[in-house]
Subunit: 188 residues, 2 copies
DNA sequence: GTCTATATTTCGATAGAC
DNA sequence: GTCTATCGAAATATAGAC
């Protein structure tokens, strides 16, 4: 892997684990096994590097989530599959976490990909909920937009609960909680 | 207000707005209009001051939320009242936000009050859900523990969505989404 | 492209006078 | 209790040699 690649991947790792404010250029360089000069040769600074890293994480997420949500099964089955898929629960959402970083929120170049990804996810789920309602699989009284917001919020908030409780199970409980409310069959 | 009080209140404000890693002693002192010496006279350092600030925020939250959840109305009405109460949505949850701070999570003294508060909230809501189920107000198929986790997660995740979208409405949508799933009457 | 040297600020705290 | 001085380390770059 090229030095440039290692810098990007190291940044992705650190943004996920520690966020933007708490990640220093020095730490990135050490993890990437790259010198000071290399980093500033390839990128104008911490901000640009973070933007490239966030963009890549956002793209990967859209690709993998998009595939699951467009996969086989009924709308509710696809939503369940997505919500129950394996995750590094204790690490949290690599995109959602950035909304709690003051320096990310203060930097338009960094918020943009975060906003786009989360909004995309809500829209994608709203479309699926609408489909489920049209098919008669979901309660016809459900509003697709608010229901989708609740689903995404449960995911994001599930990470918060898991970290607070220091137990991934808290995340799973939140997920099973919404799924039950949606009328999905229990897994046990 | 005493200097000590101003230091605590300033820290509470900054922890809420920027988190722990991104808050420096210097900033706290400036906001509190206190000198270096004052801060280190009243507290051993940033960590102890943060602990006192977090404890106070946690206590206030338990008091106000506890009052709402023990207030008048049926279980579902009380849950709705709590979820729909006025909030500084764009600032997020002063307690939940701390779970995304790497230095808070690495410091047992600081995680403890966060963990206790969020766990308390889940238990409190689980008891209310159980009550609603027993009364026949809520779907008897609902599991109190997972349902409560989903409710708290929706709250916490709603803040994430609102910040990402730069729009408090995203939070409201998530809230109305779960409430509809719970069978609460729509507000409009 | 990568390295070393240097620079400016800030961080988080200590020391000691008043 | 509060103030000023000082400290060693880290943050975030820039400069210029190789």
């Amino acid at each position: 892997m090229s030095t440039r690649e290692r810098l990007i991947e190291s940044t992705r790792t650190l943004l996920w684990e520690r966020g933007y404010v708490a990640t220093s250029p020095k730490t990135i360089q050490q993890l990437a096994d790259a010198g000071q000069g290399s980093m500033y040769h390839h990128f104008s600074g911490k901000e640009e590097l973070a933007r490239v890293a966030i963009d890549r994480t956002a793209e990967e997420m859209r690709a993998s989530v998009g595939a699951l949500l467009s996969g086989p099964g009924t709308p509710l089955e696809r939503i369940s599959t997505y919500l129950r898929r394996e995750r590094e629960v204790m690490k949290g959402c690599p995109i959602g976490r950035l909304t709690q970083d003051p320096d990310v929120m203060a930097t338009p170049m960094l918020v943009a990909p975060v906003a786009e990804t989360l909004n995309w996810l809500r829209e994608r789920l709203a479309a699926l909920v609408a489909e489920g309602v049209a098919d008669g699989e979901l309660n016809p009284a459900l509003d697709p937009v608010t229901t989708a917001a609740a689903i995404v919020a449960t995911l994001q908030g599930g990470y918060v609960l898991a970290r607070a409780a220091n137990d991934p199970q808290a995340f799973q409980q939140a997920i099973e909680g919404v799924l039950a409310l949606l009328g999905a069959p229990s897994v046990r």
